[in-house]
Symmetry: C2
Subunit: 140 residues, 2 copies
């Protein structure tokens, strides 16, 4: 059975998509720690991030950085934190979490409720910054 | 004033070193969340990880992965989590934290007290695995 993330990649499950390339996808975490909390994944399903092929591993971190820069530009925050926990969905993913304090990066915090309109506006704001930062890659 | 991490790089402050290359250093976090909690840093001081030069950024994540694999082999755990928070020491660093549950990756948890002997034994166990996994790079 494909992971929920593979089902998102295939369009069988919905997601607020933020960025996509041939190999990688970024979409908003549906249970966000903060507004702008995004997941970056390789489309090909591999469970443990340290098991990715080197090229895919490097590409994923570069993709995550591009998305992180756009999140930082779009969402008021001190930093965009990176986290890979690996005990949730068995499909490698990097959490990109805009934070104002250390306490914001606590996966046991209550998640913030956002309306569909808020999710859409957040994804659109990050996308706009991505297009600004990388017009050739993420331009319309 | 150089960061505490630059002072560790220069040998002016002590640390339980785990791995070192020309550009990168890994050492045990002195206030560990779990036994084996390690920090991987670029030797050259840059505050925000997304501002590293691309080559250094890629090299840091590859170095962190080599260290993470050795931690996983040396320390009983479910996963080695990766985290970059960026609000503590203003010198980019990746936390590599062996975890058994999501709750272990909470930077507000009380830190575990280890004796100098326990720190030394932990560093030695990770080093031994690194030498095993990468004899040419980290061999004696």
């Amino acid at each position: 059975m494909p992971s929920v993330f593979s089902q998102i990649v295939e369009g069988k499950l919905p997601a607020y998509r933020v960025a996509e390339t041939e190999e990688y996808l970024a979409f908003l975490d549906i249970n966000p720690l903060t507004r702008g909390h995004t997941l970056a994944i390789p489309k090909r399903e591999v469970d443990y991030i340290i098991d990715l092929e080197e090229e895919t591993y490097i590409g994923l971190w570069l993709f995550a950085r591009e998305v992180a820069k756009a999140i930082h530009a779009a969402i008021p925050c001190e930093r965009v934190a990176f986290a890979v926990v690996g005990l949730e969905v068995p499909h490698a993913h990097i959490h990109l979490v805009p934070i104002r304090s250390m306490a914001d990066l606590n996966f046991q915090n209550p998640r913030i409720p956002l309306t569909p309109e808020e999710f859409q506006a957040t994804a659109a704001a990050i996308q706009a910054k991505l297009r600004e930062l990388h017009p050739q890659k993420f331009g319309a």
